[in-house]
Symmetry: C2
Subunit: 207 residues, 2 copies
Amino acid sequence: EIPEASLRRLPIYYRFLQQMVLNGAFQVSCADLARGLGLDPTQVRKDIEMTGIVGKPRVGYLLTDLVRWLENFLGWNRPKGAVLVGAGSLGSALLGYERFRSHGMEIVAAFDIDPEKIGQRVHGREVQPLMFLPDFVRRTHTLLGVIATPAAAAQPVADLMMSGGIRAIWNFAPAHIQAPPTVILQNEDLYHSLASLSFKLENRLGV
Amino acid sequence: EIPEASLRRLPIYYRFLQQMVLNGAFQVSCADLARGLGLDPTQVRKDIEMTGIVGKPRVGYLLTDLVRWLENFLGWNRPKGAVLVGAGSLGSALLGYERFRSHGMEIVAAFDIDPEKIGQRVHGREVQPLMFLPDFVRRTHTLLGVIATPAAAAQPVADLMMSGGIRAIWNFAPAHIQAPPTVILQNEDLYHSLASLSFKLENRLGV
Ligand SMILES: NC(=O)c1ccc[n+]([C@@H]2O[C@H](COP(=O)([O-])OP(=O)(O)OC[C@H]3O[C@@H](n4cnc5c(N)ncnc54)[C@H](O)[C@@H]3O)[C@@H](O)[C@H]2O)c1
Ligand SMILES: NC(=O)c1ccc[n+]([C@@H]2O[C@H](COP(=O)([O-])OP(=O)(O)OC[C@H]3O[C@@H](n4cnc5c(N)ncnc54)[C@H](O)[C@@H]3O)[C@@H](O)[C@H]2O)c1
């Protein structure tokens, strides 16, 4: 079992390593990586070793090997199809974001209940009526669902996704979704960050 | 010092409590809250007590007291002005999101470098040229800055914000920003979630 915190740090290393490749470097050690990012070298080494890659003693890793290894470890080189429900302002921003494709996800279809949006194309994908979702998921074996609806709709939409066969849900609505343990649930509730930001701002600076 | 994880859980309790108020309930105990959310009651109690509120033995709390207490603890009843830089697709979604105001933040101004966007109004705020940012921040004593620019622009924009007096930065760009310890930095890098989702999807389901 890989600690969640380590998993979430890997994209920071990955980006820095890509930058090093662009700057023409060939090799990298955990100490280099830690120094470049201002992080604890012991933690960086633990995170990298957790992915199972073995480095050369004292030298470290060939840069392109490490980049490719991380991509493979995270599954970023095998983008998985995803459906998005809620083609509103946040949903459209997510649909328009090309870079998801090189990070393991491609949004292949969008669904909504608003008659004004159904049939429109948003960043190249036609918005379909919500009731077509379970069929689409079953037919295409889509495993990943993204929720960008109002909070009240989040649980019913999650249930509809799971009924079609969705196994992982990325939820942007501020709602606490219940799902069986076989479904991977990732809440991206921006309020968590706002809680932490606002508390820290008030207390550190005595605002 | 309050643990970050506890701080980030408070919005989940807050939302559930608000729901209970809407359903006409008057009192709540930590055990009720834990049961309703399917969470560990010991952790819920620890989180709530950390905010300093004292409940009545065996009964718990008056619901409206607890809701108001959490709002005040998080500073959500005192919205802080924020500036946003990068009025693109994600930035516009953030500008259009009214609910930030009741969670401690109000975006009062937007800045960009794109001549096609400068002078346009996005959800009621006029997009201003980036070079006006430091002056605006100094004049209005704005403490909070939101970054929604491409990754390459994130550090220079953060530096510009800090030069004007910004003391907390909410960064949506996938870039590792360096800031002095006196500045509160909250990275909302969606790639962290994507790393965790994609890894779990690959490994749990053997995709
Ligand atoms: N916009 C942001 O910056 C932002 C920030 C934080 C959180 N969020 C959260 O993201 C979600 C979307 O926010 P938004 O600003 O895009 O809102 P929005 O109103 O612009 O979009 C919501 C979309 O969901 C659709 N919808 C409503 N009920 C539905 C249902 N039952 N099934 C399918 N589609 C349905 C609507 O027709 C609309 O297109 C909300 O839960 C919001 O709280 C948004
Ligand atoms: N759209 C999404 O769903 C999404 C998802 C994940 C991450 N992000 C991140 O959020 C950021 C914004 O993404 P987007 O999709 O809105 O991109 P976008 O291109 O639509 O918007 C970027 C905006 O930043 C402005 N800009 C560029 N350089 C600037 C500078 N030096 N100073 C001020 N403004 C500048 C551009 O003019 C543009 O208006 C990016 O870093 C992206 O990686 C976006």
